[in-house]
């Protein structure tokens, strides 16, 4: 998810980086692009407007204009603002600490409530808690049957009552749960429109009768501008305790997440990532914000680079990586610079879109000196075209640098793996992001 948004920002900020020093107009232009990207990602119009206004005031300040790489500063401002909007930290569900703890799920039709009920029951079971599913959707055809099949599949009991209204069903279920040592009771309610007064009253009654520890709005990650209206209404009437985003396994840019969070102030607690009952994860706002922009790590890169001397050098390195023109010679030349900034692996990981792609490429920091020595023993030609390094050259280099041929082989192997990775990263840029670059598995 958020994949397209990442691409957009990458595109925008690539141009920004190229532009060098920024004027107020540059900033305005860039933010216009940011605005478009956010709107195309379904972030609510009002949220976008405020966002841009805020980012603009921040960005147009002197501090930014005088800094070395204003483009990256803007990136950081945009990023920080998104993190703020998504909620700074992960908020867990209310603990299952009474008998019974009560969760109630609500939302529009087809948003994924029933499935999420099953997922939460499974999760509780895995924690050795005893869950009870409550079938309080008496309207949708075969809704009770759906919940019963899900319950069956994970060995969780389902409470249902004929000829009773949902508030009564939930209240009876709670009594049943108290008697039967249930740890967690999860109420599946019918999908409803936030403007359906009768059914909203029904939810209010359910809330009044079972006093839920969690009252969660389940919202589809594909929701458009209306996310704000529905979240606002549900929250106004019910006082939600949290939000779950569903269908995050798709390619929705997911602006709804930002909107819902910004408008209700409710933490997003859960990420539903598939149709299987095990497809559930906690929602990490920080991780999410970073991934939205594909530049969370660039923020730390900026910070680190500012502490070390030569930001220009780092930018040049990055540029070479992007152009796939990165040779052993560059590798060596940059080494001194890089050493000031931290482990090579983590530096490479800070380049947008590259972090996860480089996983598995092991660059031993302690071996830096060894590597330096080996490259020093190479001719310029060898540094530029490592593939010409044959057996006899290897022997010479190994000998000259006081290393074993195995060590040299390792370096060459790692370097070529790294080049391949870089190539892949660039390919992914065109076709979408690598699997690992998503906050959730696809």
């Amino acid at each position: 998810m958020f994949g397209e948004l990442i691409d957009k920002f990458d595109e925008i900020f690539k141009n920004l980086r190229g532009a060098g020093k920024l004027t107020e107009k540059n900033i305005k232009d860039a933010l216009k692009e940011v605005r478009r990207a956010l709107l195309e990602a379904d972030v609510n119009y009002k949220v976008v407007r405020d966002f841009i206004k805020h980012a603009e005031t921040e960005a147009v300040g002197e501090r930014v204009l005088k800094s070395i790489e204003p483009g990256q500063q803007i990136v950081k401002i945009v990023h920080d603002e998104l993190v703020r909007l998504l909620g700074e930290k992960m908020v867990p569900l209310a603990p299952i600490d009474k008998a019974p703890t009560v969760y109630v799920l609500c939302g529009l039709q087809g948003s994924g409530k029933t499935t999420l009920c099953g997922k939460l029951a499974l999760q509780a079971k895995r924690k050795n808690k005893k869950p009870l599913l409550v079938a309080a959707d008496i309207y949708r055809p075969a809704a009770i049957k759906q919940l019963m099949i899900l319950g069956d599949s994970i060995g969780v009991e389902v409470f249902h009552l004929d000829n009773a209204k949902p508030p009564e069903i939930c209240s009876q279920a709670k009594k049943y749960a108290e008697k039967n040592f249930i740890d967690l009771m999860i109420c599946d309610t019918a999908g409803r429109l936030h403007i359906d007064d009768e059914l909203m009253v029904e939810l209010e009654e359910i809330k009044a009768r079972v006093a839920p520890d969690e009252l969660i709005l389940v919202a589809d990650a594909m929701t458009g501008q209306d996310a704000v209206n529905l979240a606002e209404k549900f929250h106004q009437r019910l006082g939600l305790t949290g939000v779950a985003l569903s269908k995050l396994d798709g390619d929705a840019r997911g602006g709804a997440a930002i909107s819902i969070r910004a408008v209700t102030g409710c933490p997003i607690k859960l990420a539903s990532i598939g149709e299987k009952l095990s497809d559930l994860e906690p929602f990490h706002p920080d991780r999410m914000a970073s991934r939205i922009l594909g530049m969370g790590d660039i923020v730390s890169l900026v910070e680190k680079a500012q502490q070390s001397v030569d930001l220009k050098e780092a930018a040049k390195l990055e540029e070479k990586l992007r152009r796939q023109a990165f040779t052993l010679e560059d590798f060596y030349e940059q080494m001194q610079q890089i050493k000031k900034m931290g482990p090579l692996e983590s530096i490479l990981g800070m380049i947008p879109g590259m972090g996860k792609a480089l996983k598995g490429v092991q660059i031993d920091e302690n071996g830096m000196k060894r590597v330096e020595a080996m490259i020093q023993s190479m001719t310029l030609e060898e540094r530029r075209n490592p593939h010409i390094i044959d057996g006899s050259r290897k022997k010479r280099i190994a000998l000259g640098s006081g290393n074993s041929v195995q060590n040299l082989n390792l370096l060459l192997k790692q370097f070529s793996a790294m080049q391949k990775m870089i190539k892949n990263v660039n390919k992914f840029k065109l076709k979408g992001l690598p699997k690992g670059a998503f906050p959730f598995q696809m």
């Binding site: 478009r36 709107l39 529009l108 948003s111 309207y139 099949i149 599949s153 458009g224 996310a227 696809m442």
Partner: protein, 304 residues
Amino acid sequence: MFSGFKKLKDSLAKTRDSILGKISQIVTGRKLDDDLIDEIEESLLKADIGVAATDRIIERLRQLAKEAKATDSDTVFGILKDEIKKILESNRKSLMGNGIRPHIWLITGVNGTGKTTTVGKLAHYFKNNGKSVMIAACDTFRAAAVEQLAIWAERSGVVLVTAQSGADPASVAFDAASSAVSKGIDYLLIDTAGRLHTKANLMEELKKIRRVTEKVVPSNQIFSKLIIDGTTGQNALSQVKVFTDAVGCDGLIVTKLDGTARGGIVVAIAQELSVPVDFIGIGESIDDLEAFNADSFVEALFES
């Protein structure tokens, strides 16, 4: 075709009041200047009309402002309606049937958009129009999907073809198509499991359903209909693209337009992909289905 216009208007009234209706308040008695254009832009974006379609409309208004033509609210209003109508009418023609029995409608879409409900409503609609209808339960994946469809078959009084949960959906489709042919059925409606367009294996499954059905009837008797949730934002564009690539798309049915977010995405889809809308869903009851009509749609959208 559009006997239920009043109903559509009622159901769209909320959109009108909450979003586009505001345009009429905004434009009344004002000069068509940058501020006004910005406000109109905001209203359009809020309706999910999308950046591209909005840009097109706003461009038109700017042109007008420059030419300093009449800028009273009626004119501005007229132009807005006109532009949106033009976008909707530029769609390629919808394919609903060709008179050769059976017409097979393959009902597809992402999870939870309203496919099964729409199959129920369509069965009722065609039956009311004197057609013989059969429905096939090809969602053999989701819990109780078959039971859900069986209830709709009962409500609409049509024949249901099923297999056990977990059966190969393509084989259900094959059986249903064969049966529809031998019984001389007018419309066979195939309900499929919800699937995200990003899941290649599930899209393959869908292709297979179509392929196998084509062994029974010629391809031109099969009509792929994509169900779009009216609450969906710009992701609907991606859905339309990928489903079209997989099994074609002869028309859209946009559901849940009885909520507060509606209509806009239809314009975005028309603008960028030129796919027509056949019906809209405006509730959970069996007759909450309306044939789509661009004129009425836009009129209803703007009427104050």
